[in-house]
């Protein structure tokens, strides 16, 4: 029988995030099958004990917490220390953790210290023929594998957005508070804070229904022989405002920005979708002025419904990579699209 541990961290507001709640769903289901429903939950954060009470109905059979100011922020050295302390207290064979940016940094280090095998980006964890297996992607979402490990302990980072989050309700639980002291050598790094783009420039919205991708065609010469970068920027920003969608970009368009060419000013490498960028999870995606080449489209692996607007009827999107390809001028379509959306907005007040 496995000994299952789920390790979580609190968010800056002290609560547990969506990814943490999703990983609770995974741990509960797995523990039922491989540990007779017994599992431990360890939480790291400035006020980790309170966070434990907030998910008191999750069914964990043991609760541990590492609290304190030093553990309230994402810092590799202190996070590894905290996870290591929880790990030693539980002595698990199977460790689960949500694949948040914070845990993706620290958990591999903690796992290595504990002699564990580690797998990340698990999009599914289940029991198959009595064995714990996981599903993950290789080569940037181009190859999918189902794999397991005979080595224990085994640590698995689950991919956010792949299961429904656990519906938490507060309940009082007994939380073991672990005393972990942070020596000076783990405090060489101090966290200054989070730098977010200004509210009106925040165009990456992971929870949006729609991903809008702008390709390099927006900055190329149009039918009149001129480039219309300013109009392109206005059309895209207006569409983002009207639909509250998330903005992505192809690599070429982002690279042009870093090479100093006049391009869409609000695009950065953070918007890059594809081989060297992100692989976002949105139910729908609309690509514009983008050719749909393989290095970009691998970033669309988890976009369920895909549509594209491109002047080239033979572009990559036409080769089975999109559900619908509109062979049209994106400038013209976007003008109409924004007009219709604005009319609807005004009609609904």
């Amino acid at each position: 029988m496995e000994r299952v541990l789920l390790v979580l961290h609190t968010e800056p507001d002290g609560a547990l995030g969506k990814a943490a709640l999703e990983s609770i769903s995974v741990a509960r289901a797995l523990a039922l099958e491989v540990a007779a429903g017994e599992w431990a939950i360890g939480i790291v954060g400035a006020r980790a004990i309170e966070a434990g009470h907030s998910v008191g109905n999750c069914g964990a059979t043991r609760w541990l917490a590492v609290s304190g100011r030093e553990f309230g922020q994402s810092r590799y050295a202190t996070d590894v220390l905290a996870v290591e302390a929880i790990w030693r207290a539980v002595n698990p064979t199977l460790v689960l953790a949500p694949g948040t940016s914070r845990w993706r940094r620290a958990i591999p280090g903690a796992a290595f210290r504990m002699g564990a095998a580690i797998d990340t980006h698990a999009s599914e964890v289940k029991v198959l023929d009595g064995q714990v297996v996981l599903r993950r992607w290789y080569y940037r979402q181009r190859i999918e594998a189902i794999q397991s490990r005979t080595h224990r302990p085994w640590c698995i980072l689950t991919e956010p957005g792949t299961v429904e989050p656990f519906v938490a309700s507060g309940a009082s639980v007994t939380v073991e508070s672990l005393e972990v002291s942070a020596p000076p050598e783990v405090l060489r790094t101090t966290v200054e804070g989070i730098q977010a783009p200004p509210a009106d420039e925040q165009t990456i919205r992971p929870d949006a229904e729609l991903l809008f991708v702008a390709g390099a065609g927006w900055t190329k010469k149009q039918a009149d022989g001129k480039v219309h970068v300013e109009e392109a920027a206005q059309l895209i920003l207006e569409f983002l405002r009207l639909t509250k969608c998330s903005l992505g970009s192809s690599k070429s368009l982002v690279d042009m920005a870093s090479e100093g060419q006049a391009v869409l000013p609000f695009l950065t490498h953070l918007h890059q979708v594809g081989q060297t960028g992100s692989t976002p999870r949105h139910p729908k995606g609309l690509a514009t002025c983008c050719h749909g080449e393989e290095p970009h489209v691998v970033g669309w692996r988890f976009i369920r419904e895909r549509r594209a607007i491109n002047l080239d009827p033979n572009c990559g999107w036409a080769q089975g990579k999109a559900d619908v390809l509109y062979v049209a001028d994106a400038f013209e379509v976007m003008r109409e699209l924004n007009r219709l959306l604005k009319e609807k907005e005004e009609a609904t007040g």
């Binding site: 200054e192 699209l337 007009r339």
Partner: protein, 269 residues
């Protein structure tokens, strides 16, 4: 305060992203069909790490860049013909598989061993660079192992910006959720930096640097030690290319208004 850094960049090679990849199962686990025939490139995020390393070294006279790569020797030699023209570095090759199906801890252990063998590396100047995640395994768990084995506790991942303060400390921008960055200040080396895309474009080819690099690279490749990697009990049950071919409906003669109406309906639906 000028510090001459010792920057070790860890970078594997991956199949050119334009290639079609097909998995095949062999006696030692999965691999890619015709893997040795596929054209390869330096792993994209690790390549960014190399460009950042070269840029930092240029700003801090006396700095030196090493490139440590675990790859099949013959493939690495091909990749070096182009990479060597991008930045000045000394290659530390390890002859072994570049496959994405290897275990990240085993790869980290091999890299750390190679870094330890570099003569003259000074800990108080040491920066370990690499790509945050590779384009093959994409685990994001290799550099942590390297750092742990080298006793480096200041590790940063998804880094886009590294600023050197006048006091020799670092100000580091790491990617976090929602398109934001976490900014941290670190007292200085040694650190591990897993780069995302950074902010630098790919440098142009510089044939003179390429020629100078290749004088060291060729003998280094000849001397490359072969390693075999442990698997930590990793078992693959299925490895497949997902069926993603869609029946694309191509709309050719619709007016912009008709298309816009259809898209609005789709968005709202």
């Amino acid at each position: 305060m000028n510090v001459a850094y010792h920057i070790v960049t860890c970078a594997g090679i991956v199949p050119d992203p334009l290639q079609t990849l097909e998995p095949s199962m062999g006696p030692d686990g999965p691999g890619l069909r015709n893997e040795l025939m596929l054209p390869a490139v330096l792993d994209p995020w690790a390549a960014h790490a190399l460009y950042e390393a070269a840029h930092l070294a240029k700003q801090h006279p006396g700095s030196k860049v090493w490139l440590v790569s675990l790859s099949p020797r013959a493939k690495l030699q091909q990749v070096m013909m182009s990479v060597a023209q991008k930045a000045a570095f000394e290659l530390v090759p390890i002859d072994g598989p570049a496959s994405g199906f290897t275990d990240s801890v085993a790869v980290g252990e091999a890299l750390a061993e190679a870094i330890r063998s570099i003569p003259g590396l000074e800990r108080e100047r040491l920066l370990i660079f690499g790509g945050w995640e590779s384009a093959s395994r994409g685990a994001g768990s290799t550099l942590q192992v390297v750092g742990e084995l080298l006793g480096i506790q200041d590790q940063f991942f998804g880094v886009d910006i590294l600023e050197v303060s006048p006091d020799g400390g670092f100000r580091i921008w790491e990617r976090v959720e929602g398109g934001c960055h976490q900014i941290s200040r670190c007292e200085g080396p040694p650190v591990v930096i897993g780069w995302a895309t950074g902010t630098l474009p790919e440098p142009p080819n510089q044939p003179q640097i390429g020629m100078a690099n290749m004088r060291q690279i060729m003998p280094a490749l000849q001397r490359a030690q072969a390693v075999s990697l442990g698997r930590r009990g990793l078992v693959y049950h299925e490895v497949d290319v997902p069926r993603q071919q869609r029946q694309t409906r191509i709309v050719r003669n619709a007016t912009p208004l008709e298309i816009a109406r259809e898209i609005v309906e789709w968005i709202r639906g």
